[in-house]
């Protein structure tokens, strides 16, 4: 049984420029060719030949970057927007958690808004009266239900909208990134409700940037990229492919940033706040590489990293040490070391050279990290200190917290029933 059948749907958006608009108005008046002149001057395909089927009773995830066509897809399915070509067939009553409380009138009370919104969503007055208590209780708004909606906070607004939409009791629920605004106690309540829907074998179409939730609750996932289906299938596989793609894009960003750092350095070499020292020995270039030797800036927590420094000593120097430091965005030093602390004995350096520090496994949690590199004397006098000039990203679907991720595993005695995650991280 198919609940939603999207068949070769293309949706083209039209852009009208101000100049075009003026021309249209003029020609509409002068020549009377009104409809003909309403033609747009630029076309954007938000959805490009998208086809898929959602089976009844399954949870279907849609992921993709901003602007990839996810919201357009939902609009086409609800019928707010019509497909330019292709067709959409929906079997069952839809409730869309797209824009919660979109129809609220700010001047009238929450109570009246519940009724009007409910009617807009297809309930009868009688049904709303029956469900009214439930709606208000779920939204936790008992005290405020008779106050005008304009006095509500954005959280209250969203809670009431969610509560009405979920009480419509649809066969198909469309959810578009709405849980982002709720507070810590409301979001789990919403997720509970969504779980409840899944248990009752209703169909859910779930659009989210929260990849771990998508992986957890969806039976099938599609990944939209520039309006086209990039991959469709089993959640783990699609999410991984998507993460890989995002990582590649981030990699490009980091590379560009690195180039900017290097370019800037040429201009204001002396004035950089993040670099100091007299440069008797200079760090010419720093490269971050994977263990396989390719330059990269986005790592998974289990990967290793190689830091390569090109150094140049202008004269023979005998008192020196090389150091590195890894900082998280809060400025906390996650790890720092230098050759002196590790009891290397400096003898002499002169001319060009290369220093390589290899980290076998990063073991850090998600986030952006900054790297310090330095050459200094044993007493701490800096020759060349680069403060936070280089950065890299740790990207993983796991959401553990803290500073570092020690290698660990879990074991449970036979009395404890607990399900292991479906797939192991690479």
């Amino acid at each position: 049984m198919v609940a939603i059948n999207v068949d070769q749907v293309t949706r083209i958006y039209q852009k009208y420029s101000a100049q075009h608009r003026f021309k249209t108005f003029k020609s509409a008046i002068v020549k009377g060719d009104f409809f003909k002149s309403l033609r747009p001057d630029e076309l954007v395909a938000a959805l490009d030949n998208v086809s898929f089927k959602v089976e009844k009773g399954t949870t279907f995830g849609v992921i993709g970057e901003n602007g990839s066509g996810k919201s357009t897809l939902l609009k086409v399915i609800t019928g707010i927007a019509k497909p330019t070509s292709g067709s959409v067939r929906v079997d069952g009553k839809i409730s869309a958690l797209i824009e919660l409380g979109a129809g609220f009138h700010p001047e009238i009370s929450g109570r009246e808004n519940v009724f009007i919104n409910g009617i807009m969503l297809g309930l009868s007055k009688k049904e709303i009266t029956e469900k009214f208590e439930n709606i208000v209780r779920f939204a936790e708004l008992e005290e405020f239900i008779d106050a005008p909606v304009k006095t509500y906070s954005s959280g209250m607004h969203m809670r009431l909208g969610f509560s009405i939409a979920i009480n419509v009791n649809p066969d198909i629920l469309l959810i578009d990134e709405v849980l982002a605004v709720g507070d810590a106690s409301f979001v789990p309540k919403c997720l509970d409700r969504i779980d409840d829907f899944r248990r009752r074998k209703k169909t859910i179409l779930f659009v989210s940037h929260d990849l771990s939730t998508v992986e957890k609750i969806c039976d099938r996932v599609i990944w939209l990229k520039h309006g086209k289906i990039q991959t469709m299938g089993e959640p783990k596989r699609v999410v991984d492919a998507y993460i890989q793609d995002v990582a590649e894009k981030q990699e490009e960003d980091f590379e560009r940033r690195q180039q900017e750092v290097e370019a800037e350095e040429k201009f204001e070499e002396e004035r950089r706040e993040n670099r100091w020292g007299k440069r008797e020995i200079e760090i010419k270039k720093v490269r971050l590489k994977g263990l396989d030797g390719t330059e990269k800036h986005v790592y998974s927590p289990d990967e290793g990293m190689v830091i390569e420094m090109d150094v140049l000593a202008y004269s023979q120097i005998k008192d020196f040490a090389f150091g590195i430091g890894i900082y998280n965005p809060k400025g906390i030093c996650c790890y720092g070391t230098n050759t002196q602390l590790e009891e290397f004995k400096a003898q002499s350096v002169e001319g060009e050279g290369q220093v390589v520090c290899q980290i076998e496994k990063l073991g850090l949690i998600n986030g952006t990290y900054y790297l310090d590199v330095a050459i200094h004397k044993k007493d701490g006098y800096p020759y060349d200190y680069h403060r936070n000039l280089y950065s890299f990203l740790i990207s993983s679907t796991k959401k553990d917290v803290g500073i570092l991720r020690p290698k660990h595993s879990w074991k449970f005695s036979s009395g404890i029933k607990i399900q292991a995650p479906s797939t192991e991280e690479k």
């Binding site: 958006y13 039209q14 608009r21 249209t24 108005f25 509409a28 409809f35 309403l38 609009k75 609800t78 019928g79 707010i80 927007a81 019509k82 839809i94 869309a96 797209i98 824009e99 979109a102 129809g103 009138h105 001047e107 009238i108 009246e112 009724f115 009007i116 009617i119 807009m120 969503l121 009868s124 007055k125 005008p148």
Partner: protein, 273 residues
Amino acid sequence: MIRLIKNLVDLYKYRVLIQNLVSRELKARYRGTVLGFFWSFFNPLLLLTVYTVVFGFIIMPRDPAFESSPWMYALFLFCGLLPWQVWFSSSSLESANVLIIQGNLIKKILFPVEILPVVVVTSNFIHFLFGLPILLIFVPILGGHYTPYLLFLPVVIFVQFVFTLGFSFLVSSLTVHFRDIKDILANLLTFWFFATPIIYPMTFSTVQESSLLKNLLNLNPMTHIMQGYQSCVFYGELIHWKRLGVTFIVSLVLLLVGYAIFDRLRDSFPEEV
């Protein structure tokens, strides 16, 4: 064509929603004001006072129908002013804005857009209905008489409803694409007001003597609707069936054309508002 008519009839399906949205409009309009709903009564009264002072007492009407009484003139004025100002003019102006103001509904949820102009016209119609008893109370006070012809009022009201609705469909959908219409409309309505026999009667000597002026006024559908009100309430005579009948057909055509354009542009609303 048949589809259009069917769609228009389908509006009946949404009566509960329309009813709720209208009552929401009425509630929201005066929320926060001290006098609240009484403004529905005061607004036409204040308007009437201003026009009576200026045109009745200062300019002094010269038409025999008023028996040289500024009060009789005030009654005549009220007959046209109420349906024009409270209903037609405010409906048109609000329609120009309604799709843009309610953009959220159009863009974010599946919503039958065509009920928005209906809600605007209906809620202003209800304001007009609130003003109607005041008009009727003032008939004897200002020197008029109740006549059985008052019973024809609903016919006139119905014709105006159709005409106003058609105009609202047209204005609301076009404004989405050409926002200039909002400003054009404000000026057009002022011009239109004076091009309709509201502050002067059709029997006025200047009008009667110039056949050009007379023909121009007769081409204006609102002329016949306003004359309908004046016949029922002020003159106490039978409404001009033929003229009102033609006006009704014109109104129906406007409604169909207005709705056809609205329907044609409908798909572009979510992107343009």
